[in-house]
Symmetry: C2
């Protein structure tokens, strides 16, 4: 069976894997990113990791279909990174040439969250269909689009910034410079901010246990905590939940009318809350998309675990 190397570049760790086309992973290996030492050191660490993976596999570089790499930021068609502000010196680095020159390996790279969509389509919640859109709800909201079974990156590697769909004109200021991005409401950060806002204005009957705990330790609020109170039926926590889900449904509805995908996959840390979010989002979606499009699209939970990034990276090499 064909094998590929997958690399998932994170802020602190580079994770690598040897993966066969059926998704079986071997030799999962981690090395420090050393971002503070600059882009050339990060690249050197990636090259060492690939060499280590090839050695562990007891194969030759030429036995691999290629290598796939998920990275923060964007990757242009020629393999040059842009964005990736949290990795000093990484922006402007060309990935393809050094890997190709040293190992003779064909390389495909993409935004790390985008790569996760590839993993879901091949091995997770997107199996069996060709067109999916993934929302990764973490600290921010990332996304990935798979069309006709292939990752859609756009000509300059920038497609899939669905966390920055503006769902409320002149809404909350986003770190990205825009206002009212869905990320400001439905990411972990967004949910926490909604919690702070909704508890600040609460009074009378709305002085619930959730309001007390948030007011007592505002800096300790997490989206996980919000969902513990949602599970307990706390009225203010439920308001936060409904607002976040309605905002997410706006973005999902727009995606449906635009792309009519077979499935929309909701994943990331926020979705550990699971069906409570999924069900409420599904209830809100009909306000924002056509019923005949919605009835042909399933909204589902992500299925891939912590190896989604590295598996998606490897999966890109099989395209």
């Amino acid at each position: 069976m064909r094998k590929a190397i997958g690399i998932d570049l994170g802020g602190t760790t580079v994770k690598g894997v040897v993966m066969s086309e059926d998704g079986i992973c071997e030799h999962i290996t981690r090395v420090p990113t050393e971002a503070q030492k600059g882009g050339q050191q990060v690249l050197a660490n990636i090259l060492s990791l690939i060499a280590e993976l090839i050695q562990k596999s007891s194969l030759q570089a030429s036995d691999f279909v290629g290598a796939g790499l998920g990275t923060p930021g964007f990757v242009d068609n020629d393999g040059t990174v842009s964005g990736a502000e949290n990795l000093p010196g990484w922006k402007g680095t060309n990935i393809y040439t050094p890997i190709k020159e040293r190992f003779g390996l064909k390389v495909t790279a993409a935004n790390d969250v985008t790569a996760v969509a590839m993993a879901e389509q091949r091995y997770g919640a997107g199996r069996g269909v060709n067109n999916i859109v993934c929302f990764a709800l973490g600290t921010g909201i990332g996304g990935g689009i798979v069309i006709d079974g292939k990752l859609y990156k756009g000509t300059h590697g920038m497609a899939g910034e669905i966390g920055h769909i503006v769902v409320e004109t002149d809404g909350i200021q986003c770190n990205c410079g825009l206002k009212g991005c869905v990320e400001r409401y439905a990411s972990a950060t967004g949910i926490v901010n909604l919690a702070l806002e909704y508890t600040k204005s609460a009074s009378g009957n709305n002085l619930t246990p959730f309001v007390e705990i948030v007011r007592g330790s505002p800096s300790k609020v997490t989206s996980k905590m919000v969902y513990e109170y949602v599970a307990a039926g706390d009225a203010v926590a439920l308001k936060v939940h409904h607002k976040a889900c309605d905002m997410l449904a706006r973005a999902v509805g727009i995606i449906l009318n635009t792309l009519s995908p077979d499935r929309v996959v909701l994943g990331g840390g926020v979705m550990m809350a699971g069906n409570v979010i999924l069900d409420t989002v599904k209830e809100c979606i009909p306000r924002y998309c056509w019923p005949n499009i919605y009835e042909h699209c399933e909204i589902v939970l992500a299925q891939m675990g912590e190896d989604a990034g590295v598996m998606g990276a490897a999966a890109m090499a099989f395209e």
Copy 2:
């Protein structure tokens, strides 16, 4: 050079063409749709038209690459029409089987506005790039998405309903059932409705010539008329214009952050106003999308004329 048959099905007329791959059209022929006689009659008229085109071309059916058809509504993967409410009995009709059985021709069909995007990508404003999104601003707003040089229809033929991106939650009621669709603000109908609304509330310094003419003959207002007053610098007409363009920019900005296309093409009757709309939309877009994505995307006017539909239909057959 390879040739294809293109068919553009309209509410009153079916238009057909023999087109070579370089976009040269021959034997443009029109027959009545006869929608009131039901779907089977419409289909019979399409079959007669194809027969006539083959005869006029002095070729055999087998000399053609295939036939492409643009139709109101949606077309599923097996060639069955859905939607298309203005053509009685057309919904549920299978297009592919009868054309294939009678002529042995491979058929590709899609929504008629979607097909226009194909024409722009091959022969018009989208030449030379792979990823484009077209907005057709007419009575409503239709759309089409070309990805990697191929029409993206979605698994059930429903992709590209970008006129129904909700740009204002709880906004103006749309015919489609949703509220706040971009079509309600930036189509010809939308612009006329904005004109009626803005002139109704005008007073004092805002009692411009445009207000007078609209109040005098509200039923005669057209988007063309609005743009005559925009050209004359009428303050209220300019307000209508800015609102319509800002709403359109919201949808375009969302498309950019989602798909990062190489070009967005604005066409349809409303765009006869040309650069005044294009320029204002471009000014508004940065509020709704990332600068690095925007700088890689051109927003341009459509270039195809009245044959866009039939040429796009034929172009689909070359895919």
